[in-house]
């Protein structure tokens, strides 16, 4: 369980990190919390010649408000998300989701930037960011740009990140006061990836769903936005028939892998249940 040899770099600025990653090309990997990459290196599934540790870059830390959005630095850890009163009050679904990631030790090290940028369909934050309509702020050799979370994921470990580009922050529109939210995740044990998980953010008006977005984790090669499922419940009171319609619409776009978490049929079935549970719990929390 000894990783292959590599050269270690700890740049002090974003510009230096981008320069290093651009110069070193495919042989270099950025290192955030390391709780996905280092296990892969120990198994020699990943053998980068260079690691560019982002932990020395102050600009990647911190959470701040920008108008009606919260901007979360890429190197903010899951533990810091859980300790943040701003997150707990303005983006409580982020708090709820972070609690379901890994275990305490993993949350001290694991970062939100690593979670969303790695492109692992098992990670929990990507589907949530798609649900919330977040934007990812990227910086690379050609400057800065912003990519919607909903356009970011292309395949397993394949994202819109270009060569030398670093995800620097996540800009999340704060949902309106009184919104309902839920992240429902079935996992086999603490620290496991989801067998299936669903995130819901909605608003209710006069007992009916006014707006709704639904995201799905680990149910395809990428996180999914279940648009038809969300449409199926808008204007309803989330009666049984509408919940079933939403679950069926969500299941129609699921294509999970058959693995230790179960065969395709089981994981799809569980996915439908997660959608219904998350919708019910979100509605119960909505004002």
């Amino acid at each position: 369980m000894i990783p292959g040899p590599f050269k270690y770099h700890r740049p002090g600025s974003l510009a230096d990190a981008v320069k290093l990653l651009t110069e070193l090309g495919d042989e270099a990997r950025p290192l955030a919390g390391g709780h996905s990459l280092i296990p892969m290196m120990k198994l020699r599934f990943a053998t980068p010649d260079h690691l560019v540790d982002l932990s020395g870059i102050g600009a990647l830390k911190g959470i701040h408000s920008e108008g009606d959005r919260l901007v979360i630095g890429a190197m903010v850890t899951q533990h810091e998300l859980l300790a943040s009163s701003v997150i707990a009050s303005s983006l409580p679904i982020l708090h709820e989701t972070a609690l379901l990631i890994g275990d305490p030790q993993v949350r001290y090290r694991g970062t939100i930037g690593g979670n969303v940028a790695n492109g692992d369909p098992g990670n929990d934050m990507p589907a949530l960011m798609m649900t919330l309509g977040a934007d990812y702020l990227l910086e690379g050799p050609d400057g800065k740009r912003s990519v919607a979370a909903r356009d970011f994921y292309k395949g397993v470990y394949f994202t819109a990140l270009g060569p030398g580009e670093i995800l620097t922050a996540i800009s999340v529109p704060v949902p309106p006061d009184g919104h309902g939210y839920a992240y429902d995740k079935l996992k086999r044990k603490v620290g496991d990836y989801a067998t299936a998980a669903a995130s819901v953010v909605l608003t209710m008006k006069d007992g009916q769903v006014a707006t709704c977005a639904i995201g799905l984790t680990n149910l395809s090669e990428t996180p999914l936005l279940a648009e038809d499922a969300a449409q199926a419940v808008i204007g309803t009171s989330l009666d049984e028939a509408s919940l079933k319609k939403a679950a069926d619409a969500a299941k129609a776009i699921m294509a999970p892998a058959a693995d230790g978490r179960g065969p395709v049929e089981y994981r799809t079935h569980v996915g439908g249940i997660m959608v219904q549970r998350a919708l019910r719990r979100a509605a119960a929390k909505a004002a």
Binding site: K7, Y8, G34, I38, K42, D49, L51, P104, Q105, Y108
Partner: protein, 170 residues
């Protein structure tokens, strides 16, 4: 492919003492602590970031040291189980709790358990049973069934809080 890599100088504070070493970048922190520094309290269990036997305290965080490179800990303040006894060498409240409440059987997970529980009680001095179970979810024990580990941590919390309130009264 394989790059010839020079060793790197690292320095950190371990159990209050400044230490230095020359490591390959790929040297895992647990190997540096056990083999170079000789602190063999933190154990190598699964080596896959699941079991928590290698847990150390690093800059105020519980960390699985099999999943951190020694170079990442350059400049860090680290505490291992060897640094958790009272200054006069007597057992800390947690160590005493694990003895009194039979919080261990084979003892392999115990250093990681106690080191994790140490940080948990620093952050939450009076945890509920659920909070304790959630807080030690990253540490596996294959003997006890956790019941007595939870009791041991409750014992330590009560003792620490009792001592503190007594001090406050004085």
């Amino acid at each position: 492919m394989a790059t010839q890599v020079k060793k790197t100088q690292v320095s950190m504070k371990v159990n209050g003492q400044p230490v230095e070493g020359l490591v390959e970048p790929r040297t895992l922190l647990i190997h540096f602590i056990r083999e170079d520094l000789g602190f063999t309290g933190p154990h190598i269990g699964c080596e896959t970031t699941h079991c928590g036997a290698c847990t150390i305290d690093m800059d105020g965080m519980s960390v699985k040291s099999c999943n951190v490179f020694a170079v990442q800990a350059d400049g860090a303040e680290i505490t291992t189980i060897e640094g958790l006894a009272n200054a006069d060498g007597t057992l800390s409240a947690l160590q005493e709790g694990f003895r009194e409440m039979h919080g261990l059987q084979c003892g392999f997970c115990t250093p990681g358990m106690i080191t994790r529980a140490h940080r948990l009680l620093k952050e939450n001095p009076n945890p509920t049973e659920d909070e304790i179970r959630f807080g030690i979810a990253g540490n596996l024990c294959r003997c006890t069934g956790y019941q007595n580990i939870v009791r041991a941590i409750q014992y330590a919390a009560a003792k620490i809080n009792g001592t503190e309130s007594k001090e406050a009264a004085e």
